[in-house]
Symmetry: D3
């Protein structure tokens, strides 16, 4: 079986002029919303996701009485965020499989860096709403949500609800995510919509500040991939996530 | 039966220092989204609504073959937009009565100023998504949607799809809306969330650029009102809408 | 923009021979149902609505422990009630926006005349089911529901559940509703289906026995209206509601 | 296993004074609704069901192009029809198993006496809405629906849509139904709610004018039954249905 | 009205060579599943149904505090079990009327032989999932479920949860079911799919080990039937159920 | 942050005595169902999944007129398949996020080895229904589905619907899947339920017969993982999939 990834390709420029390893411009705006405990408007190029963290003093049934907290995520796309208007899920009466899959991924990624016992029996829900979609909405959502989560926990610490002296005792590491893929036979980082549409292989990688993996989700929609390609994709991902972790720290400053 | 509106009240200042007739700061940002045919981010103080117009070359079944077009609206609130996080309607699996009522109001308001025969057999859907809610989301949505609609129709005219020489032949007038109500016994304009919560009487008024009414929806949640109160509320509404119409024209410039 | 309401019209007779201000024949039949605490079959001409009040010794979550009661309404149309058979909402799996909007209106209208503290922590649900529809179903529903509500509260007082000596201490005023509109350029009262279909402007007005407004909902489906038209519509409404209030009192007799 | 039906019982009077074989008072009111092609308000004592037949010039997908028609039924109970108010199915978002089961039964019963080829490719939907429930709603619905169906077909014949000279060529026989059961150890006919609640065995029997069975549905909710009991129940049913068939013919007169 | 059942027919062989009274091969495999308290894979010829009983230490609201237990059933068909693949009900978002009707029938049939007071306040849910459908899935489900129910109760007795010395004190009799019908004018037992499709009259009969009826559901989809036909159908049913009861006892052995 | 995967562990035996790299016993039974075009009952130890392929001569809207075919999957678990009975998704009215995620994965995996142009404009739906769950249901489903798909395509070729001389021209390679994970600090292959519950890291790997990856989905539910751990997990996965590919070929024989 022949696949796109095996076709020889000259090192042509990417569609938008980026180098294979280059991220799009990343922008993080903290405190975008007034009511949420923490909120961040993140953009990866034209992709814009509003991440908001809300606190609730209760946990799902399976954790009641455990002394442990919970972090979960919900994801949605505004109908006009996509190239062609998409149906409103509230009007259709159900969330798509894609939506459910993405919000489960975001939730798992954030939980990997939270000490649930120190959080105590309370929940933080992260709403990730895509204002504009141009590829990479789930990786932008994870990257932005971490910062919204930090601000929500900071508020809990500041108000004395949590006895710890710093949010860093509850959120034990950073977490960020990027997509990588093989487009026109060449591994590239942070695919936009056009690249994503024609990618033979498409990965979403989630890593911590300590350089460990939390999630690797790789799909060969139009072909297959081998170990060598996997290895170069993971390298690209590590590099890209490194930059995103820096952007998170830069936005956080001394907080 | 005693009502809040009949209690004598000193002409105390409004909670946020505004005069009774004063609008909150209005801000209109055109072209907020890249994919939508027209889009406007409108804010009435802390209330922020993203209005986006999408075109579709087909009409609902009851208009097929009629030669007439259609304009409809959908409304939603991001879960984190409200003072306390609200459930995601897509997750609950249905839209609330309030949501359906608001989007029907927005649709009717816009249709009142569109010449459907000149629009031809195509539809424009206006998505109004509330990013932050602080009272008046539906009136902000109507006011902003009109501008998004203009930009969508301008694109149709510019691209030659419509034979008219100006969007003004299809959109025959402006339309804008404001809320008025009786708060602490005194008629005020453009209520924020706190005022709205304790208003004895609450009106949403929609008017055209020509100073005609399109919709009047008045509710006495905690009491009743008489003709004199109605009259002063309508005056406040006319005045407020007058300013919003100016803001629309200012944003539009010479387009 | 030209609207139907501005076209000059000769003072032709109404379709069914009524004068502009005339209601259709109103008929109120108390105690139509055997199990409901209160029930009324109301007709406005060919429009027939069955209103039934049921008691329940509990309140919605937001009122628990408040000592206050609640009154709410549900609305439905039998599929064969309409000119062309309409879908059964139970079979479609959801209530339409129109249904939700109407039942919210009925509930608000009734709550405006109930002293919730004296009702105590219990709920009354009013079911308004349209047996036959010929325009004005929501105004008939409000007018009939008030009487069903009275009978339900009378039963609570008679059985000693409520300590008051008369239902009039709990239901502090009457409430009734009528539609008015501009049809063929002329303001008319209590529109039937045919008039409603071609009305340029359509109002639903809810008033108390004391002559105060509870709700005003005016829509210009095909055009707009000005203050003068509004004023004459409100006058027609006040007059019509006056007759409905009398009909309620006549039906109630000395109860 | 002991069952209620085996306990010795004195031939005590029925709760409401009826003889074991006696029906409750049957009342049939034709033409109750103005818009439906045929409509009948039927009562079996306090049980009141509104049956309405609507015509539609199309058939379900599995019959398209077959030249055959279709008859189907929908069933619903008004929330206030029952002893204790029941939930509105439209609000709950789905029809109960009981509702679906009953409407399937009504549809099958009516189809048994219709010549679908002579009806031609069109559908008749019978809506059976229970205004008041006191046992036997489904048998009243079948009995009343037959008459509504006749009137709908008469209209088709009268208007010349169908070439037959009489509705009797399309509706080839009568159909009616009654419940029978073993209450306090004794077979009785046409159970009301109170009898139904304590019946050890409960049957619904549907028969044609020619004395043939269309459906027999017997359930021993609290016990079992033997052939002898079955035989006496069927006799009671035949007798009761005989009276209902007479009532149908009487109502129909010479039509 | 002529019906298929009245046409004279030679005593031709059944499609699959069986005698009119013959069952298909019955196979019962106990303990098919590892986690369920009781499970049976039953086959009636090509019809295969997996019946599994699960215990839960709680009862539905209407039984709380009554000291009585509950037995209920759920029914489903795998999409690929039918001749032409059927939609997955979970994907469509609701169970069909047929599914609800069948699971109600299975539940009633099993409850008829259970002493709910001795079961105590706990529930047993029987899942009946059709792996392959060739007619008679509901009768196979009832017959197999009885055995799964026995094994679940045996486990409760064996573990000392129930104080009785044998499951026979809780399950007071056997219950089994078979379909009978008139096919090509001749009464036959245990119809397969092909026979079921063309049956003029179709019965499902449920009986206890003591030879009493629990349910009789007879439908004349294409015609009607008289007392004589009913009588011969019931005889066929009794005979067939007799064999199924033997098969249950054989499978149970000395348990 | 400490994770389970970093704790030093002696090479203790696995819970069920397997070596770290050992699969559970794999069993493949072809032709389990009579109606489906292809069907396989696959077991990985106690995990049993029934995979059935159904043909349909049409494609989803986005492929109409493209000349290309489609392969999709649906997944479900019988309620009694799990350790504690799980809710029936059809009764709850929606499929869970987990279900949707798994069926999307199965569909993508199968599509990776099908030449859609040669399949032509027709669809194959693979139903994967879990009869018993003990970990690894999605990997068993993928592995079994491939064989069901082969049988469905073989039938198309044999019947002359497809012009190719062998199914191998349409299904261009094998595909199989296995789970690997880090349990008690040690990488193991084909986790059962108990291992899965306590795994720090959990991977599902899908590969082709040619040794290429189709999907890699790795999640660190309780911790994180580094490149070295990833590498050893992938090796385990490759080895396990190699055995599954052999089992597929063995079952297929010379077909």
């Amino acid at each position: 079986m022949s696949t796109k990834s095996t076709k020889p390709k000259p090192p042509a420029k990417r569609h938008d002029g980026r180098q294979p390893e280059a991220l799009r411009t990343v922008h993080l705006e903290r405190g975008y919303l007034r009511h949420a405990a923490g909120s961040v408007l993140i953009s990866f190029g034209d992709t814009r996701v509003l991440c908001a963290a809300s606190l609730e003093e209760r946990v799902p049934p399976f954790l009641r009485g455990s002394g442990k907290g919970w972090v979960t995520a919900e994801y949605g796309m505004l109908p006009a965020s996509t190239h062609t208007r998409s149906d409103r899920e509230a009007a259709r009466g159900k969330q798509s499989g894609r939506t459910l899959e993405i919000q489960r991924l975001i939730g798992r990624s954030l939980r990997a860096v939270v000490d649930m016992e120190k959080l105590g029996e309370r929940s933080i829900t992260i709403d990730c709403d895509v204002l504009q979609a141009d590829g990479g909405t789930r990786t932008a959502a994870i990257t932005g949500s971490w910062l919204a989560l930090v601000d929500a926990v900071r508020r809990l610490v500041a108000s004395g609800v949590l006895p710890q002296s710093s949010w860093k005792e509850i959120i034990v590491d950073q977490v960020a995510a990027v997509s990588v893929g093989i487009v026109d036979g060449r591994p590239v980082c942070d695919l936009n919509y056009e690249e994503d549409s024609k990618a033979g292989v498409d990965f979403n990688i989630v890593m911590t500040g300590a350089g460990k993996f939390v999630e690797i989700q790789g799909t060969a929609e139009h072909g297959t991939f081998d170990e060598k390609e996997l290895s170069s994709l993971l390298k690209l991902g590590q590099r890209g996530i490194g930059e995103l972790l820096k952007a998170q720290r830069r936005t956080l400053g001394n907080d």
